[in-house]
């Protein structure tokens, strides 16, 4: 029994460390949201704008705050949380450190949905037409994935279905670009695909918030199953987890969170791939423990990148997906090298 005591306190310590990490990450996200509101292209008195806004005065600063700054900051946090969380969930579920939110083909399908709206010329007539098209694409993709992978509980079938779907959506997007009526339209699509949070409105926030929230709940509910899946599917099933339900929750949750994210912001790569790797060493590699911290760190990363975009002198501003890829790709290469060294 003596040996039990230090171990019990070690596990209590790691639980405490886990809770501490979540608190610190949440504080970081809150600070970055404030920074994102405060930092912009024009000098801006945030407190007085906030006072105007709260008092219901429709002054120009209050409008800028409500129509531009706050939606941009909130969307950064929402999209980042979705990407980080989905990355951690998919890496845990597929037991593959190179899985990212795009692996199920949902991002590509959401992008395709939005591109079809562009292509159909609907984007100009309704401000939410683009994100709605993206959400429709993601929904169809999730349906297709669930049907394709419905037989058996194997994860390989899921990956293959995702790769197939991703290729198909990519090919159709390329076709749309190829057939674009003019080069300006093609350019607009290409820029949109790079991902950005600029010029989004509160309508975008209200559109994606409920979908993302539902997706987060579905994915967070699988935390324990992900822990059990560290030992393989048979063992997880023997521990009492219904793997069909787990897969359904993960695919649907990922589609809701990432699909609506892509729909409002375009494709933002590498966040979902990189963040779980930063979190894992801090939580003892337990997949279920990495979910909340990955979501929060994802939010911090996207907010940070979006702030950097506005601080960089490049005009027009760089696209968000370009910045995250520029930071993420070298990280990925480093990761591959480290893994090679270990095995």
């Amino acid at each position: 029994m003596k040996a039990l005591l230090p171990r019990a306190s070690a596990s209590a310590r790691s639980r405490l460390a886990g809770a501490g990490l979540i608190v610190i990450a949440a504080a970081l996200v809150a600070a970055l949201v404030l920074a994102s509101v405060a930092i912009g292209y024009a000098a801006f008195d945030v407190p007085s704008a906030m006072a105007d806004l709260l008092a219901g005065r429709t002054t120009l600063p209050a409008l800028v705050l409500w129509e531009l700054r706050i939606p941009r900051a909130l969307l950064g946090a929402l999209v980042g949380f979705s990407l980080g969380l989905t990355g951690a969930v998919l890496q845990g579920y597929l037991r593959n450190p190179l899985a990212d939110p795009g692996i199920l083909g949902i991002s590509s399908a959401a992008a395709l949905g939005a591109v079809m709206v562009f292509y159909g010329g609907l984007a100009g007539s309704l401000s939410l037409a683009l994100p709605l098209g993206g959400i429709a694409g993601a929904a169809l993709a999730a349906l297709g994935i669930n049907l394709l992978a419905a037989r058996g509980t194997g994860t390989l079938g899921l990956i293959l279905a995702g790769v197939g779907l991703s290729s198909l959506a990519g090919a159709l997007t390329a076709l749309a670009l190829n057939l674009a009526p003019n080069s300006y339209a093609a350019l607009e699509i290409v820029f949109w695909l790079m991902g950005s949070l600029a010029d989004r409105s509160m309508d975008h926030v209200w559109l994606c918030l409920p979908l993302m929230g539902l997706g987060w709940i579905l994915m967070l509910s699988t935390a324990r199953a992900l822990d059990a899946l560290a030992l393989g599917e048979d063992t997880a099933a023997s521990l009492g987890f219904d793997l069909v339900s787990v897969r359904l929750r993960i695919v649907t949750g990922a589609a809701l969170a990432v699909g609506s994210g892509v729909a409002v912001s375009g494709a933002v790569g590498f966040v979902g791939l990189v963040v779980p790797h930063l979190v894992r060493p801090l939580v003892g590699s337990r997949p279920g423990a990495s979910l909340w911290p990955s979501g929060l760190l994802g939010a911090a990363l996207v907010l940070g990148a979006d702030i950097a975009i506005r601080l960089l002198p490049s005009r027009p501003e760089l696209k968000l997906g370009v910045i995250t890829a520029l930071v993420g790709a070298p990280f990925l290469i480093g990761l591959l090298f480290r893994r090679q060294g270990r095995t």
Binding site: A3, R15, S285
Partner: protein, 265 residues
Amino acid sequence: MRLVAEAVGVRIGRTVILGNVSLDLGPGAFVGLVGPNGAGKTTLLRILAGLLPATTGRLTVDGRAMASVRRDERARRLAALFQGAGVGWPMRVSEIVALGRLPHRRAFAALGDADRAAIARAMRLADVAHLADRAEPTLSSGERMRVLLARALAVEAEILLADEPITALDPAHQLDAMTLLRAISRRGIGVVAVLHDLTLAARFCDRIIVMEDGRLVADDRPDAALTDGLLASAFGVAAHRGTAFDGTRYILPWERSGPGTKEMG
């Protein structure tokens, strides 16, 4: 707990994977499940664990149909050890063993005192207490096997089903693992292990179940089950039999029985 299979079978399309297997498992015995590759041992183990539904026959837990037993109750009463998948992440040993408590924990509840006590017992039994803070990739194969066994023991189930628990181990660790599995069965837990080493199976198990081509061809005490005729027909080997220096009888698969001997059984 009694786990009873009555004429249990599995077919995929028209191929019979497992046909008409009947057996009765209870507490306190160490049962070796043997048979050549492809005989259906792992399929049978997965059926017994409730992970694969039988397409024919009946599987009951204390008289109730397995299908009607709730998933969480099944998980608490039946532990299964599958090693093929390994451990996906570099988790700490104590956290791996703690996974065995998942069936006992309510949603969002942290580990309780009963859980911690069970984890400590399991780690002591499998002799991995000193590895508690090691990360999984730093373990040797023998240590990893004992850690995964401790994980299965932490469930504190009534029956433990183990798929090839000793296959990857060196001789010393194989002996350790078989001794441990027998010791666990002496504590009242029913242990069923898929084994390939007939010498160790015959020496340590109380009972041997032999599978061949998806059928159960023998289910008896080791010396009664592993007859020369059965070794030739099911495994295609002839065994040397002898007496060890401590007086124990042993069998040792020595050579392939010649072509044509298949008809003898």
